[in-house]
């Protein structure tokens, strides 16, 4: 059967999302075997991807695309080349085992939700590594962050879990925004959303792009100084740690760096930055791992170290280094996921993860012990496991170089040695020696939880025994994809006893053994140092986070102070500035009008209006103010009559009359102080803003009056009112015919206002007036509830 790449990609990327949406339902149907059912999804993806290996290893990447937003030149495109295929197969393979494991690890009604989250994460991760389109890449990148947030905070009743989830989301979210900016910049530089269409991005935007891409990668892959979120993320259930925070999500940053290497790599700034941050993270993680006693925390710190190691190798950038990185990625995914699953099994079987409280488990948990042996051996890099070849490859890459590679080499040897020591500790401390009392009597984990470590360990051995095939099928195509030109595999089974790399490996093992023997002393020393320091990146995050919350609180208090007149003041001042500001800035201020050709009775009406206004503002008694209000309304009505608007005049007259009537009806019942109690400074401030508003309105109007008037609409209405609409009163024809829909809306508003008024009056009648506002408010709240 011919392989259909589009179906394969759809199956790999979309099926997990569909399954995730349905899974809570599926879980209810299938019950206890939910883990087995969920594992089918990544297995299907794996099976769909496998046929593509042949084509890709022949050097022919597969690209599939669906139209997305054609008007923006955007299509949902995916690229399957050596690099993405390696990652995708790892994600699917490890994912199947982790889902299977989760089915047994987590029982109860929330299992369906948990497996659904894991499936959604898997789809996002597959989309991330397969996406060719920058928008899709960003989208899936953020989806992995969101899914990770949900999974870390899965046990959301614990504060530590909530904190870890928020921390991970914030840190990786910042990186996501950087990636978005990088994507938009690349689009601007190359004119295409597709990464495969972008060549070298050297140019003006190069330093910016390097900064943005590395910021995204470093936050996702937890490089120093963004490393603190990863150990905290261990609050997640153990399968999540095994999957997201060792094998997949945190590798997203590594993937991004590898993916961008053909476009951004080769420059000293790129290589040096990667090597510096990678090396620092490697040593930091390796040293910090020694400090821990919680098995999961030890593994988390070694994950940091491994991520740093991968960054360092990608920074070195030679063919050997890249191949080493690909091999190490695979080996690490296999052994680290295995180790996490083993730790989960130990936790499950004994009730504790504290390495100092565990011992002698080999007889009680034999199968787990076997799994641990295979994983730890890979971590130490013993032949003939895959980890060994990865280590040989990276040493060979750096052994013959100048100062910078030699420093990197030293960091690698030291880091690997410390990782090896942790591997030894995880293997020996819990399983050898005397049996220590544990919260639960030690017992073996169920089969579904053991399948993961065993299969992963066995795969590490099989891959180690077949390096030539592995190199041909995955390592060389992946290296080619990163380097941008075809590379042949040089991996073969066997140990070169005369070569530099082998003796460096021997040195690593020696150092690892020495570090293991001095583990307790080292831990005590590190704890003392840490106690003296009194500061950590973790606490720094808290300071920044709560500082932001406090700042937000202050800004809210500043802007939402709850004082109506100040809100209004700001609104009015802004309106005035908006009205007159542009005129003033662009020199469009009107000239002072020369003539005011008013007849005497027109002056009289204007004077009446002015007198009404002044009296309303200055009136000291309420009744006087209301009467003055009527006077100014009457003046306006007269003005309407004088300018040829009889309809307006009559309506205004009626409205003013009714206003005065209902004002009088209500005001007689209010015991209000009509005097203006504003202090002088408030009075001056309010008066100033109001004056500014008045001047702005007049100024704007005068400027408008200096310009010609567009009368097309009025002419249309004038010309068609009588002949077409059979009405000679143009104003009325506009209201009921030309713009009837507006009027319909308006009378709806009038009616709504009327209903609201009636409701208000009735609510008053039903309840007697209360003196104390507090109980009234409470009653009202209760009534609405």
């Amino acid at each position: 059967m011919e392989a259909r790449p589009d179906i394969a990609v759809a199956l790999v990327v979309l099926l997990p999302f569909v399954a995730a949406a349905l899974f809570p339902l599926v879980h209810r149907l299938v019950g206890d075997v939910a883990g087995w059912v969920a594992a089918l999804v990544p297995l299907a993806g794996f099976a769909a991807l496998w046929p593509l290996v042949g084509s890709v290893s022949d050097g022919v990447p597969v690209r599939v695309a669906w139209p997305w937003a054609p008007s923006w030149g955007l299509e949902l495109s995916f690229l399957v080349d050596g690099l993405s295929l390696t990652f995708a197969l790892t994600i699917a393979g490890v994912g199947a085992l982790v889902l299977l494991y989760s089915g047994a690890y987590l029982k109860g009604h929330r299992q369906g939700l948990f497996l659904g989250f894991l499936l959604a994460f898997m789809g996002a991760m597959q989309g991330l590594v397969l996406a060719d389109n920058l928008v899709a890449l960003y989208l899936f990148w953020e989806l992995t962050s969101v899914a990770s947030f949900l999974l870390i905070g899965f046990d959301h009743t614990r504060q530590a879990a909530r904190r870890a989830a928020i921390q991970a989301l914030v840190v990786t979210g910042i990186g996501g925004l950087c990636l978005l900016a990088a994507g938009v910049t690349i689009r601007a530089v190359t004119g295409s959303w597709d990464l495969s269409a972008a060549g070298s991005l050297a140019g003006e935007a190069y330093p910016l792009l390097v900064g943005l891409v590395l910021a995204a990668a470093f936050t996702k892959s937890a490089q120093v100084p963004f490393h603190f979120w990863l150990p905290n993320a261990m609050e997640a259930p153990t399968p999540v740690s095994a999957y997201l925070h060792s094998a997949t999500m945190v590798q997203g940053g590594v993937y991004l760096v590898a993916r961008m290497t053909p476009h951004l790599g080769g420059e000293p700034i790129w290589n040096t930055t990667l090597m510096a941050f990678g090396g620092a993270t490697l040593l930091w993680g390796a040293v910090m791992a020694l400090r821990q006693t919680d098995l999961k925390q030890m593994l988390a710190q070694t994950t940091l170290a491994s991520l740093g190691l991968l960054m360092l190798l990608l920074g070195a950038g030679t063919e050997l280094a890249i191949t080493g990185a690909v091999l190490y990625f695979l080996a690490h995914a296999l052994y680290k996921a295995g180790l996490f699953l083993v730790v989960g099994a130990i936790d499950h079987g004994t009730g504790t993860r504290d390495i100092t409280a565990l011992g002698g488990l080999r007889d009680h948990m034999t199968v787990t012990f076997i799994g641990t042996i295979m994983a730890s051996a890979a971590m130490l890099g013993l032949p003939p496991l895959l980890g060994f070849f990865a280590k040989e490859e990276m040493y060979a890459a750096l052994a013959l170089g100048q100062v910078q590679p030699l420093v990197a080499l030293a960091a690698l040897v030291l880091g690997n040695a410390l990782l090896g020591a942790i591997g030894l500790a995880v293997l020996i401390k819990p399983f050898m020696g005397e049996v220590l009392p544990t919260p639960i009597r030690p017992h073996e984990a169920p089969m579904a939880m053991l399948a993961g470590p065993l299969v992963l360990g066995a795969l590490g051995i099989v891959a180690g025994l077949m390096p030539a095939q592995l190199g041909e099928l995955l390592a060389a195509p992946a290296t080619s994809a990163v380097l941008g030109d075809a590379v042949d595999t040089h991996l073969k089974l066997g140990v070169d006893l005369m070569g530099w790399p082998f003796w460096l490996s021997v040195a690593t093992w020696g150092l690892a053994a020495a570090a293991y023997l001095r583990l307790d002393a080292g831990r005590a020393l590190l704890r003392r140092l840490d106690g003296k320091l009194g500061w950590s990146f973790d606490r720094g995050f808290d300071a920044v986070y709560f500082g932001l919350v406090r700042l937000a609180g202050r800004v809210t208090r500043l802007l939402h102070h709850g004082r109506l007149e100040l809100y209004l003041l700001v609104v009015f001042a802004m309106l005035a500035v908006a009205a007159i500001g542009p005129l003033w800035a662009m020199g469009g201020l009107p000239a002072w009008p020369r003539t005011a050709d008013l007849r005497f009775y027109e002056w009289g009406v204007v004077a009446l209006a002015v007198a009404g206004i002044v009296t309303v503002v200055l009136a000291r008694s309420r009744l006087f103010a209301i009467l003055a209000l009527g006077v100014q309304g009457l003046a306006v009505a007269l003005l309407y009559l004088l300018v040829g608007a009889p309809d307006l005049g009559f309506t205004q007259f009626m409205v003013e009359t009714l206003s005065v009537v209902i004002l009088a009806l209500v005001m007689t019942r209010l015991d209000l102080d009509a005097a203006d109690g504003r202090p002088f400074e408030d009075w001056a401030r309010d008066g100033g803003v109001a004056l500014l508003g008045g001047i702005a309105v007049t100024g704007l109007l005068w400027a408008v009056l200096d310009r010609p008037l567009d009368l097309r609409l009025s002419d249309f209405f004038n010309a068609h009112a009588a002949p077409v609409a059979h009405g000679r009163n143009v104003v009325n024809v506009i209201l009921v015919d030309f713009r009837g829909l507006d009027t319909l809306g308006e009378i709806s508003v009038v009616m709504t206002a009327g209903i609201a008024i009636l409701a208000l009056i009735r609510s008053a009648r039903r309840r007697p007036t209360v003196a104390d506002p507090k109980p009234a408010a409470q009653r009202r709240r209760k009534a609405t509830a």
Partner: protein, 140 residues
């Protein structure tokens, strides 16, 4: 306010104002006037009646609740707009029917029905508010 003279004159005044309001409404299409102003005059008429005789009496004189009048007016205006849909014309297209009764041209049209709707809404709403305020005053 409820002096004998006021109470005697008020019903008369109300009647005159109501008739005048209908006159203003109907001539609105060709002369100054229309639904808005007519409705306001009618509402004032009812308010005067309420002031003189009490809100309860005014409401009783109207038979139905004024807000129901407003609702009917809104429905009438909406239906007047929708009538054109029956003739496969866009919403609110004006339809005209001209009759000649004794050599006087009489026009029945959807804009006129619409204007009557406006009249009823304005009248109903404002009368309802005014009467409610007056009744509230009596109770308080």
């Amino acid at each position: 306010m409820n002096t004998l003279i006021f109470r005697t004159v008020a019903p008369l005044l109300t009647a005159v104002m109501l008739v005048f309001s209908v006159f203003v409404l109907l001539r609105g299409h060709n002369e100054p006037g229309g639904g808005f102003i007519g409705g306001l005059i009618a509402a004032s008429a009812l308010a005067i009646y309420g002031m003189a005789m009490g809100a309860e009496a005014a409401r009783h004189a109207l038979r139905v609740h004024p807000i129901a009048v407003a609702g009917f007016g809104l429905a009438l205006a909406g239906l007047a707009g929708m009538l054109s849909l029956a003739f496969d014309l866009p919403f609110m297209t004006g339809l005209w029917a001209m009759f000649e009764i004794d050599r006087v041209e009489v026009a029945i049209s959807t804009p006129m029905v619409f204007d009557i709707g406006v009249y009823l809404v304005v009248f109903g709403t404002i009368a309802a508010v005014a009467l409610a305020l007056e009744a509230d005053e009596g109770a308080g």
